[in-house]
């Protein structure tokens, strides 16, 4: 298809596998840090892996009301988020599959996953599923413009929506040179919290169905489907973290391919992502869940900060 | 061709054209029986139509006919009038046989009234035919005055309250208007006599003579005279501030007569106005009379637009739409471009055809539903499929929907409005047309569609009433896209006359 060598394709696949595999580790780390900051011991950092394996082996209970959409959603969710992982450069400056899709495609894939999750929520004919979908609808309606504005800002500064171009140009210019990017950083952070259902927006670990957003939609899942849903949620979170890290803290990306360089790059990547994860977990413990209709002000803040980023570019 | 007194081919035709209605009127007064009256009227109007067509072919090749040393003078402008009068006259006679026959059976109209109706009908045709034929403006004025008197008699046919009121108002306003017109005519005569030293009083009143020495008239006199003519003939033609008699007269008269009134009589009055427009545009240039025509046209369009929405009675609504169309015709003549005048003259024929169809179909509908009010008639397409369809086509045509003929002439008129540079006037015309489209459409839809109020047995009224409507609808469809060749050349010659004053061409 294009001019990359077989080795690069191998490395590309490695990058994607890295994201897919390490995603549950990050979830484990965040739970650990949250527990520690609440003076609890909390479960081990590899607990999510055990959960997934356990769930995969369990039988599945499916509601008699639901249709094929309910059973297909976990697969669609996983496929979309996992294939989005292929386009994200992790330790290489460019991702060999960058030509195939750009950041808009990643956003589109997330939207496809979210679309089917909402439908699955409605499919089980319980009011909790409907509750979750309607709230998810509200938040996604507000997050979309914020997300596109941030992408617009990043595309302005780094000349393009192709993720490899963004990362390579980010790699050359240091963050201080381009002040506008700071505003994009704030906006992207808020969007990341909203997209992955972190605390100010949605409390993932609650048991009271009335306060759930994301959990309410996946309430009915069990066994393999629940595992897939959890895993794809983790991958999505991992992708957002990697994007955040690649664009705003683009240190020591591997230009020329060498075994030492790559392994060192992977380690630096893991350190960076886990640092970001612990920072978000720390933020989560410090903030309480906001009332649903005050959340829109937070996202409006994200939109305005990205608009300021745009104006900064034109000054 | 020696234009002496001796009867040449065309002079016989013109004389017989005028005499046929008079003879049939006399015959009717003699034999009182219904069957005979109806047949004589149909035959006479058929004869008029045939003679009219022959005259048309004569005028097409010879451009002008003048008989009896200039008292009768026909050119293509008057040929258009004759064609409209004879065509609408013939179809109305067919329709009135069915319409009046039905009223006769229902004892609304007794034998004496029926005779008076047909006498009036024939005399009406005679007086209207006299207008385009006469060259002497005095005779033309008398002919128009006679049409008023005859039509008052016809409106007075029913003895109910409304018709008395309508005929009284019509008589009063029309006579006042026409006396104004006579003032104007005498002013022109005076202007003609003041200038012309070799002045012979016999030919002083002739239109041809006046057009020839028009450039030498005194400008002040011509302006004064044209204003009197404009207000006078404007009243008869139903132009705006003087149109107040029109809705009452047309809604109270029997349907065939209001078809004749709306379709043809307004055009005769406008024909008179047009003749004087030619004279005044020759003497003091067209701007003066053009601006006046545009102003009156726009006002009548405005008033018609204002009142159609609130109408409760079908025939009053149709009468106001005649005011609207006369307004468009006068405005487009006022635009003064070849295309505009061509469109206006074409619109005279189109409007006559469509308005007659509408009056016929609304006549049969109000006969079937026994009411003229719009609110009570609905679901016509269900109870009277054929008449309902005709009424729908007529309604859509009158508001200017494209596949029909009115759109063609309105297209020409509005493009002349733009190319002649008065954008404000054309914008106003488009605005008013849209308002009328909305209000007329509302009433039309309410009447044609929906489901009929009381249970009524389906069925149209009589073969004779359907025949004229079918002819009219076919004319509407044909003229929508293709205007026949001879008619095209006729209207082009008439437009040249209006622009150039074609006495000498």
């Amino acid at each position: 298809m294009s001019n990359f060598s077989m080795l690069e394709y191998g490395l590309g696949i490695l990058q994607a596998l890295l994201i897919i595999v390490l995603s549950s580790l990050i979830v484990g780390i965040m739970r650990k840090i949250k527990a520690k900051s609440q003076k609890r011991i909390g479960s081990g950092i590899f607990q999510p892996y055990y959960d997934i394996v356990k769930l995969l082996r369990k039988d599945e209970v499916v509601s008699d009301q639901s249709s094929w959409i309910f059973r297909a959603t976990p697969w669609i969710n996983f496929v979309t988020t996992a294939s989005a992982a292929f386009f994200i450069p992790v330790f290489l400056v460019y991702s060999p599959f960058g030509v195939v899709g750009d950041i808009l495609l990643v956003v589109g894939l997330f939207a496809l996953g979210r679309f089917f999750t909402m439908l699955a929520g409605l499919d089980v004919a319980s009011s909790f599923g409907g509750l979750g979908s309607s709230r998810e609808m509200m938040i996604s309606v507000l997050v979309e413009p914020a997300l596109f504005m941030t992408i617009f800002v990043i595309a302005l500064f780094y000349g393009g929506t192709n993720i490899s171009t963004i990362v390579s140009s980010a790699n050359d210019t240091s963050i201080l040179v381009v002040p506008g990017i700071l505003f994009a950083l704030i906006a992207f952070f808020i969007i990341m919290m909203a997209e992955t259902g972190k605390l100010p927006f949605d409390n993932p670990s609650t048991h009271l169905e009335l306060t759930m957003i994301h959990e309410a939609m996946v309430l009915e899942y069990s066994g393999k489907s629940l595992a897939l849903m959890e895993w794809s949620h983790a991958i999505k979170q991992m992708i957002l973290f990697t994007l955040f890290v690649d664009i705003f803290f683009p240190w020591n990306f591997v230009e020329q391919i060498s075994l030492v360089g790559i392994s060192f790059g992977i380690i630096v990547f893991i350190v960076k992502v886990s640092a970001l994860a612990s920072f978000t977990a720390f933020i989560e413990t410090r903030v309480a869940k906001w009332r649903l209709f005050r959340v829109s002000d937070l996202i409006a803040m994200a939109i305005s900060s990205s608009m300021i980023g745009v104006i900064f570019f034109f000054l | 061709m020696f234009a002496t007194i001796f009867p040449s081919m065309e002079s016989i035709l013109v004389i017989s054209l005028l005499l046929t209605p008079v003879i049939s009127g006399l015959l009717i007064t003699l034999f009182k029986r219904k069957r005979i009256i109806e047949t004589t009227t149909i035959i006479s109007s058929l004869l008029i139509l045939i003679q009219g067509l022959f005259l048309l072919s004569f005028i097409l090749e010879k451009k002008t006919i003048s008989i009896f040393d200039g008292t009768f003078y026909l050119d293509s402008l008057s040929a258009i009038m004759i064609i409209t009068i004879s065509l609408v006259g013939f179809l109305t006679s067919l329709y009135s046989v069915n319409y009046m026959g039905r009223q006769y059976d229902k004892l609304i109209v007794d034998g004496k009234k029926l005779v008076r109706y047909y006498q009036g009908f024939n005399m009406f045709l005679f007086t209207m035919l006299l207008v385009p034929v006469s060259n002497n403006l005095g005779i033309m004025w008398i002919a128009i005055e006679a049409t008023t008197l005859v039509s008052v008699l016809l409106i007075m046919l029913y003895t109910k309250q409304g018709s008395i009121e309508a005929s009284w108002k019509y008589l009063l306003i029309a006579t006042v208007g026409l006396s104004l017109a006579l003032f104007g005519i005498i002013f022109f005569y005076y202007a003609n006599s003041v200038y012309d030293n070799s002045f012979d009083s016999i030919h002083g009143m002739d239109w041809t003579n006046m057009v020839e020495n028009a450039p030498y008239f005194d400008p002040n006199l011509v302006k004064f005279a044209f204003i009197f003519i404009l207000v006078g003939f404007g009243t008869k033609a139903g132009l705006a501030p003087m149109h107040t008699w029109l809705p009452d007269a047309h809604s109270e008269a029997p349907s065939p007569i209001s078809a004749l009134l709306s379709g043809v009589l307004l055009n005769c009055a406008f024909y008179g106005l047009l003749r004087f427009h030619i004279i005044s545009s020759h003497s003091i240039g067209p701007e003066f009379s053009n601006t006046l025509l545009i102003i009156l046209g726009i006002i009548s369009l405005g008033i018609a637009a204002a009142s159609i929405y609130f109408q409760k009675d079908v025939k009053r609504m149709l009468a106001f739409s005649s005011v609207e169309h006369m307004g468009i015709i006068s405005a487009s003549v006022g635009f003064g471009v070849f295309l505009g005048i061509y469109g206006a003259l074409l619109h005279v024929i189109n409007h006559a055809v469509v308005k007659t169809l509408l009056f016929f179909s609304s006549g049969s509908i109000s006969q079937k539903y026994q009411t003229k009010s719009i609110a009570d008639t609905s679901g016509i397409i269900k109870t009277m499929p054929v008449t309902g369809f005709m009424f729908l086509i007529g309604g859509l045509a009158i508001i200017g929907m494209p596949p029909f003929n009115i759109f063609m002439s309105e297209f020409l008129m509005l493009s002349s409005g733009f190319s002649s540079g008065n954008f404000l006037a054309s914008a106003l015309v488009i605005l008013f047309l849209v308002i009328i489209f909305a209000s007329f459409g509302k009433h039309l839809l309410h009447m044609v569609f929906g489901n009929p109020k009381s249970e009524m047995k389906k069925g149209d009224l009589g073969k004779f009433s359907i025949l004229p409507m079918v002819i009219l609808v076919s004319i509407i469809f044909v003229m929508g896209i293709y205007v026949p060749e001879p008619l095209q050349t006729l209207i082009e010659d008439a437009t040249k006359i209006v622009l150039v004053g074609g006495v000498h061409s």
Binding site: V99, V124, S127, F128 | F407
Partner: protein, 681 residues
């Protein structure tokens, strides 16, 4: 050359065959077959004709002229062929669909009238696209509106069909008034009525072209459903029979777009004069407002066809954004970007006609089997009408613009052209167009929410009423009609290059078409690859990941059983359909945020166990209504104001004879004064 013409004649022959058969088979049993089969052949031939015109050159022919003023001439070039393709494709699918759909109207007496008018409607659309003369363009344009009007009021028994039919007819007539004014304005400059004279741009002064374009834009905008003039669309399309509303929404709106494109790129050679910049920005602004308003009202609509009509307004808005951007870029001589924006809008026009036709047909089949359009009492249809549900799902994924299908490409291209705004030199423009991006992004989000709601409530969860319970799958022919469009949706989604090559060759744009497997790449002026997309590649990644995860789950998880059991009901017992979310409650959070638009009002009446204690409610009944601020505020005020004025004028018909004579005297004296002063020189 000649065989194109030959195909054109056969098309007309087939359509007129359909019309005549429609006339004569009134009330017979198989009237549907006689009227719709000719239209199937004819529309298939239209597709072939448009494709042949793409490959060979177009037809330019004059038949006859009337009053040696207007000559009936045809001109089929690339532009016309592209829109012919849209007409052909959609009417082909819809005719197959209506073969069995029209059985719904068999009880009505004039059921063959539907087929007849259907054929006349398509012929008039084709004639509008190919006619090359002002007069005939307007005649066929109004003929199209007239036949679609008759189709809208086909079921004229219920009152509001008539009312919406009338609003539709009056609004289109208003639009035609504007188009007429702009054509005549051009005529005054060029002196001839044919479009060829409008094309040689030299003789027409710039200000005339601008006024003419603005008038034409307003005129065609009314027909396309631009925001301030859109109120007829959500009234007219739903009241028409579904096969007709599919045609109207999918194709008739595109004819209006055709008019604008003709005016924009044929009659105006866009140069760098500032007028074009402001025209372009105006179009973008109107486009984004229409998009936002359209989707906002689609979100809260409970009648499925009205919601789809509102979403047509939104998509027309997106098309306008693309067109406006291409004008702005052309005005700044950024030719490659202008081409990109134009391809984006044309590709979206093609996509929208396909998936909107599909959605209206599915809505029609829902109406066919459940006899209701209100989604509040539907639900659980996916179990009863699986194929229709699948089609509706494909349609909604496409219309939201989610990756695998063609909607995503249209959106992606529009977004790329929006993002390329930063290459425009002037800063103010960049900021205003940034707001356009915000509006567009909000529209995408809202569109997602709308179609989750539409699909979720109608098809998923428990059936809410008896109508939905005994729904049954629609006959096979209707499914085939929908399947055609659904498959073209998927095809264009996977291989977008077919569409893009088509547009490039139709409008002969300077964009290097390449093989379907090439990436759609946009290279920005600065360096490297601005953005690129390769849909087949995405598909391959999908499949490989699916195989990978399937294998992984099978290896780790092993065989597991799935048990069917009731939904989790917190132990309360059997969940009735009352407990699940309704359509209004699903959109309630968003309705609360965008309150100003909806003026939403909930009237709640509850009766209590004990009078004083307001908390223990026996039953509560909430009716929440949203009002369309355009209908009440804008149009209500305008109409009542003008009626007030008209009422004052008509009072002159007061009935008193003396007053009438007084009017004559006053006019006489007024005119004399008007002249009197004139003559004092």
């Amino acid at each position: 050359m000649s065989e194109n013409l030959f195909i054109l004649y056969i098309i007309f022959a087939f359509f007129s065959l359909g019309v005549t058969l429609g006339l004569f088979t009134r009330g017979q049993k198989y009237h549907a077959y006689f009227t719709y089969i000719p239209s199937i052949f004819a529309s298939f031939l239209t597709i072939i004709l448009s494709v042949t015109v793409f490959s060979s050159e177009g037809i330019h022919l004059t038949f006859f002229n009337i009053q040696h003023l207007f000559d009936f001439e045809i001109f089929i070039d690339g532009v016309a062929a592209f829109f012919l393709l849209i007409i052909g494709l959609i009417s082909f699918a819809v005719s197959i669909y209506s073969l069995s759909y029209s059985k719904k109207f068999d009880d009505k007496k004039n059921n063959s009238a539907l087929g007849m008018l259907f054929n006349v409607f398509i012929i008039s659309m084709i004639l509008v696209v190919i006619s090359n003369n002002v007069f005939f363009f307007l005649v066929f344009w109004e003929l199209m509106s007239l036949t679609s009007f008759f189709l809208v009021i086909y079921e004229h028994e219920n009152k509001n069909n008539l009312k919406s039919g009338l609003t539709y007819l009056v609004m289109t007539h208003l639009g035609t008034g504007f188009i007429f004014a702009s054509f005549i304005l051009m005529y005054t400059q060029t002196g001839s009525f044919s479009f060829d004279s409008f094309r040689d741009v030299a003789i027409i002064p710039q200000y005339v072209k601008d006024i003419a374009f603005v008038l034409a834009f307003v005129g065609f905008g009314t027909k396309a459903g631009m925001v301030p003039l859109h109120t007829w669309l959500p009234k007219a399309h739903p009241s028409a029979p579904s096969n007709v509303s599919a045609l109207m929404s999918a194709v008739m709106l595109k004819i209006a777009i055709y008019g604008i494109v003709r005016y924009l790129f044929d009659f105006n050679a866009i140069d760098s004069s500032p007028d074009y910049v402001w025209l372009g920005v105006g179009i973008v602004v109107i486009g984004s407002i229409s998009a936002l308003v359209g989707i906002l009202y689609a979100l809260v609509e409970n009648d499925i066809k009205r919601a789809l009509a509102f979403s047509s307004i939104e998509n027309v808005g997106i098309i306008f954004i693309g067109l406006g951007l291409s004008v702005v870029f052309a005005a700044f001589h950024l030719l490659s970007l202008s081409v990109l924006a134009f391809i984006a809008s044309m590709f979206h026009t093609l996509n929208h006609s396909i998936f909107k036709g599909l959605l209206f047909m599915t809505a029609g089949s829902i109406h066919y089997s459940t006899h209701t359009k209100n989604i509040e009492d539907l639900g659980g249809l996916i179990k009863k009408m699986p194929w229709t549900a699948m089609m509706f799902l494909i349609g909604s994924i496409a219309i939201i613009g989610l990756p695998p299908l063609n909607g995503f490409i249209g959106e992606w291209l529009t977004l790329q052209s929006l993002l390329a705004v930063f290459q425009i030199p002037s800063n103010i423009l960049q900021v205003t167009l940034a707001f356009a991006i915000l509006a567009f992004a909000l529209t995408i989000g809202l569109a997602g929410a709308t179609f989750v709601r539409l699909f979720g409530i109608t098809f998923l969860s428990k059936s809410r009423s008896s109508k939905a319970i005994n729904a049954v799958e629609v006959p096979r022919l209707m499914l085939i009609g929908k399947a055609i469009l659904a498959s073209s949706c998927i095809l264009l989604g996977i291989l977008p290059f077919i569409g893009i090559n088509l547009i490039v060759s139709a409008f002969d744009l300077p964009y290097t078409p390449s093989s379907p497997f090439e990436t759609i790449s946009i290279t920005n002026t600065v360096d490297g690859n601005f953005a690129s997309l390769l849909m087949p590649g995405v598909l391959i990644v999908f499949i490989s990941v699916l195989v990978g995860i399937f294998a992984f789950v099978r290896i780790i998880g092993g065989k597991t059983k799935t048990i069917k059991y009731g939904t989790w009901d917190c132990g309360f017992g059997n969940l009735s359909e009352k407990t699940q979310y309704t359509a209004t409650s699903l959109a309630e959070p968003i309705r609360r945020i965008f309150g100003i638009f909806y003026k939403s009002h909930n009237d709640i009446d509850a009766d209590f166990y004990v009078k004083e204690n307001l908390y223990l409610k026996k039953s509560i009944h909430v009716i929440s209504t949203t009002r369309n601020i355009f209908d009440e505020k804008l149009y209500g005020k305008v109409i009542s104001g003008s009626l007030f004025v008209l009422d004052k004028i008509r009072k002159i018909q007061s009935g008193k004879v003396n007053a009438y004579i007084l009017y004559i005297m006053i006019t006489l004296i007024a005119l004399l004064l008007f002249v009197g002063f004139g003559t004092h020189e």
